[in-house]
Structures are given as structure tokens and as C-alpha cells.
């Protein structure tokens, strides 16, 4: 084997394979390495002034400083809590509403156009009126998140319900299932893959809406951190905030939502295995 290939396998490929075999999640880190390398290179070359375009080193150092001061963990907890509360409310309203609209013809005719209409209005467009009604506070922010999370969940739930083959309903009925039993045993599991998609989308939008709301309304949270940093001219903190957002979403998706999807849709053969 020629020398270069040998070096590649010995020092890079084999360790990588061993590491990813023991800790599979490290595989998802690899695509980011070139990105970070480019970032480091551009910052180092000072194509832009250092204060406008800091490199990875500064951001990491800022991370440790903010953690040490306790600011980052607190703001992070605030943001995540708001999202969790809003998401929980959105799910608690969204899934039953989606089931109703998906199953009942009259509910569908009455509510579907209304849902589409309000979905189009969008989340942040509600901010001005909510600020007048509820002021700069937690209520406004929670309402924004609930609103944002709600629509993808409802719409995807409806889709999921309607995607269940008629034969499956008929099979359940011919086996003696009551309407309630059908919802529990057929409709909910059948719609679940779509509901998970709705959750993914809803939480994604909710997360983004949260940050925007925090920028405008905020007294704490990651969004507020970034916006406040702008006033201080601290680009490093802004970049840190952005990276934290990305990493957090990545974690939620990879460690919470994707496993749910694997345990349900993929195992049941309703979603293609990767």
C-alpha cells in the first residue's frame, strides 16, 4: 500500500471508524468539521475585521466565560422552558383538534378554511396586537409559541388521519371496535408518523418564533442574549447564540424526535428506514 494511503487509514480512517462504532452520534459531527475549518481560515486571514468576524477560538472562549458567569445556562433554561410550555399547550390542543377535523366531515368543512386562513397570517404578525392586549411579558411569548406550534401539528394530524386506508377502519369495525376504540387503536397509531412530522415542523417553527419574540419582547433567553449583544457590539456573543440555537435544535431532533420516529413509523414499516 502506498505511504499516503497507509497514513490516511492508520491515523484518520481507523480511529474514526472505531470512534463512530462506539459512539454513533459522533458521525453527525463530521460534516461540520470542514465548515469549522473554513470559518477558522476566513477569520484567520482577516478578510473582514476581526471584531466583525471572529473565529471559532473566540466563540469557544466566550462560551466558557458566559457559562462561568451563569448567564448562558440561565438564558438557555428560560428559552427552553418557554418552548416546552408552549409546545405542550400546542400539542394538547393541536392533536385533538386535528383528530376532530380529520375524522368528522362537518368539523372539517367548518374549520379547515379557518385554519388555513390563520396559518397564513403567521406567528410574528400577531405580535403587535398581542403586545397591546397582554404587554411585554410571558403571556405574549407563550401565546406566540402556542400559535406557531399549533398549525403544523393540526394540519399534519389531519393529513395523517385521512391517510389511513378505509379498509383499516372497516377491519376494525368488523372486529367489533367501538368508535372510541377505533380512535385509540387505529386512528392515533395510524396518524402517528404524520403527527411526529407535525411535531418536528411545529417545534422548529416554534423555536424560531421564540427567538424572534425574545428579541422584541425579551428580558431573558437566547434571543435576548443575541440582541443585547448587538447593542454592545459583541459579534462573538451573537455568533455564540446562533450556534447554541443550531446545536440545541440538532439535539432535540436527533435525540428526541428521530428516536420516536424510529420506534414507531420505521418499525411499523410506514416510513422508509434510512
Amino acid at each position: 500500500m502506498n505511504g499516503l494511503a497507509y497514513l490516511w487509514v492508520r491515523w484518520i480512517w481507523s480511529p474514526y471508524m472505531r470512534a463512530t462504532a462506539r459512539w454513533p452520534s459522533t458521525r453527525s459531527v463530521v460534516p461540520f468539521l470542514p465548515l469549522i475549518a473554513v470559518w477558522w481560515g476566513v477569520a484567520q486571514a482577516e478578510l473582514f475585521p476581526r471584531t466583525f468576524f471572529p473565529g471559532p477560538a473566540e466563540v469557544v472562549s466566550s462560551f466558557f466565560t458566559l457559562v462561568y458567569k451563569g448567564i448562558l445556562p440561565e438564558y438557555l433554561a428560560d428559552s427552553v422552558t418557554r418552548l416546552a410550555v408552549g409546545a405542550a399547550a400546542g400539542i394538547a390542543i393541536g392533536i385533538p383538534l386535528g383528530l376532530l377535523v380529520g375524522l368528522n366531515r362537518r368539523a372539517h368543512d367548518a374549520l379547515w378554511p379557518v385554519l388555513l386562513f390563520f396559518q397564513a397570517i403567521g406567528d410574528i404578525a400577531w405580535l403587535p396586537i398581542l403586545l397591546i392586549w397582554f404587554g411585554f411579558g410571558l403571556t405574549t411569548m407563550t401565546l406566540i409559541i402556542v400559535y406557531t406550534v399549533l398549525f403544523p401539528i393540526v394540519l399534519n394530524t389531519v393529513l395523517g388521519v385521512r391517510a389511513i386506508p378505509l379498509d383499516m377502519h372497516r377491519a376494525a369495525k368488523s372486529l367489533g371496535a367501538s368508535p372510541l376504540a377505533i380512535i385509540r387503536e387505529v386512528v392515533l397509531p395510524g396518524a402517528l408518523p404524520n403527527i411526529v412530522t407535525g411535531l418536528r415542523n411545529g417545534l422548529g417553527y416554534g423555536w424560531r418564533a421564540l427567538i424572534a419574540a425574545e428579541i422584541i419582547v425579551g428580558t431573558s433567553g437566547i434571543g435576548f442574549l443575541m440582541f443585547d449583544a448587538r447593542r454592545a457590539g459583541s459579534v462573538v456573543e451573537i455568533m455564540l447564540g446562533m450556534i447554541v440555537l443550531g446545536v440545541l435544535w440538532f439535539i432535540v431532533d436527533a435525540w428526541v424526535l428521530a428516536p420516536i420516529e424510529r420506534a414507531t413509523g420505521q418499525r411499523w414499516g410506514m416510513v422508509q428506514r434510512q
Binding site: A171, A172, K173, S174, P189, M270
Partner: protein, 252 residues
């Protein structure tokens, strides 16, 4: 074993494309004796699936009635089990859970219903697949689960809507033999819809030929049980009966 009576069953609906009323089923009357295996054949569009859906209660009849054991039926129910062409197994339940579904709906406790389910899976030779999910099984195995799932609920009547149409020819033949074997052990009244004439003659005691929504003719099939394909395929009576049915279907 219960009897099934169709009393002047009709189905008409409004066809938006034709802009007029269409009669899918026209005053069909039929008596199926307890424990009898009846096959319904006919050309495409003759109304056989519509009739089955009305017996099952999935479609309301426009007029006439369906009586199981002398009682009129209204809507679907566990007294009429159905086996679907699309299998319609619940993908989120294991094979065992699928078969135990009917008993579960009747409120039978978990231990008891799993025992019932295993019994029926044994009957069909599917014990090894009990813990698997439907998407892990072949088409033939899935349909066997479908048949067993319907039977595990002890229906008065078993309705089968072209159940083997989605399965390859060889598997189909073994499924037909197996269906007869199970039917011999757990005698139940069966209505079997198919467009395959040979399948109808192989399986049934009596073949009903349908044409354009009405019964054209009924043909008795006095062949002895157990029936095997390798024996019957050359049997003169089987061949002449199949030819007769085919001729009636084609003339429809």
C-alpha cells in the same frame, strides 16, 4: 354456524358523471345455509363487492335486507368477519396483537385473548411469526394472518373479498387449500367473492354467478372434501364444472 339470508337486496346510487341513477345491485335474494361455503363470481363491475359491502354493513342498502340467523343487520359488527384483498392488518400491532384484536374489543383479558390468538396462529402454522410486525411478513403470510384474525373472533359469517387476488399464483393455491383445511376444522358460513372461476369451483359448495347486479345462476359443486389441487386439476367433474361456470360468466 349461522345462516345468512339476503332479501331482495338492492343498491342504487347517483352517478355524478353519468348524471343519473345507477343500479349496482338489483333485488338480489340468496340463502346461505349454516356452515355452507358460497362463492360469488362475475365479471368486473357486476356488483359482487357491493353486495359483500352491504352484507358486511359498510354500505347501507338502498332497499332489501340482510339477515344473519334471522336477525336484520344494521352496520358492521363482529358477527360478520371480513377478510380484505388489501389484508388491512394493523401495521402498528404485532401478528399476535392483530389476531387478538377481536377478542380485545369484546373485553377479554390479555392472558386469555393471547391464548386464543396463539391457538388460531397454530391452526394456520403461523406460531413463529407471532411477535413480528406485518411489514416483516410476505404477502401470503399476511393474508393468512388476515384470515385467522377474522376467524379468531368467532364470526357467524365470514366474508372474503377477493382475498387472494394480491398474492402470487403458487401461494394462492396453497392458501386456498389451507383455507379449506381451516374451514373444515372451524366450520363457519362463508361468502367468498372472486373473479377466478377455478378458485370458486375449488373452494365452494355452491357457486353463484352474478351479472349486472342480479343473480344469473347458481351451480352446486358436489366435489368431496378434502380437496387438493394436484388431484382436482385433472378431475373430469372439476373441469366440467369450471367450464360450465366460465361459460355462464362469459355469457353475462
Amino acid at each position: 354456524m349461522k345462516s345468512l339470508v339476503l332479501n331482495k337486496l338492492s343498491k342504487t346510487y347517483f352517478d355524478p358523471y353519468a348524471g343519473s341513477e345507477v343500479t349496482a345491485v338489483r333485488e338480489v335474494s340468496l340463502t346461505v345455509k349454516p356452515g355452507e361455503f358460497v362463492a360469488v363470481v362475475g365479471p368486473s363491475g357486476c356488483g359482487k363487492t357491493t353486495i359483500l359491502n352491504m352484507i358486511a354493513g359498510f354500505l347501507p342498502a338502498s332497499s332489501g335486507e340482510v339477515l344473519v340467523d334471522g336477525r336484520t343487520v344494521h352496520g358492521p359488527g363482529p358477527d360478520r368477519g371480513v377478510v380484505f384483498q388489501s389484508f388491512a392488518l394493523f401495521p402498528w400491532k404485532t401478528v399476535l396483537e392483530n389476531v387478538a384484536f377481536g377478542p380485545k374489543m369484546r373485553g377479554i383479558a390479555k392472558g386469555e385473548r393471547e391464548k386464543i390468538a396463539r391457538e388460531f396462529l397454530d391452526l394456520a402454522g403461523l406460531s413463529a411469526a407471532a411477535a413480528r410486525y406485518p411489514n416483516e411478513l410476505s404477502g401470503g403470510m399476511q393474508q393468512r394472518v388476515g384470515v385467522v384474525r377474522a376467524l379468531a373472533n368467532h364470526p357467524d359469517v365470514l366474508l372474503m373479498d377477493e382475498p387472494f387476488a394480491s398474492v402470487d399464483a403458487q401461494t394462492r393455491m396453497s392458501l386456498q387449500e389451507e383455507l379449506l383445511r381451516i374451514w373444515q376444522e372451524r366450520r363457519t358460513t362463508v361468502v367468498f367473492i372472486t373473479h377466478d372461476v377455478a378458485e370458486a369451483v375449488f373452494l365452494a359448495n355452491r357457486v353463484i354467478v352474478l351479472s349486472r347486479g342480479t343473480v344469473l345462476t347458481e351451480i352446486e359443486v358436489p366435489l368431496a372434501h378434502p380437496r387438493r389441487w394436484d388431484a382436482l386439476i385433472d378431475d373430469d367433474r372439476f373441469k366440467s364444472l369450471s367450464a360450465l361456470v366460465l361459460q355462464k360468466v362469459r355469457s353475462a
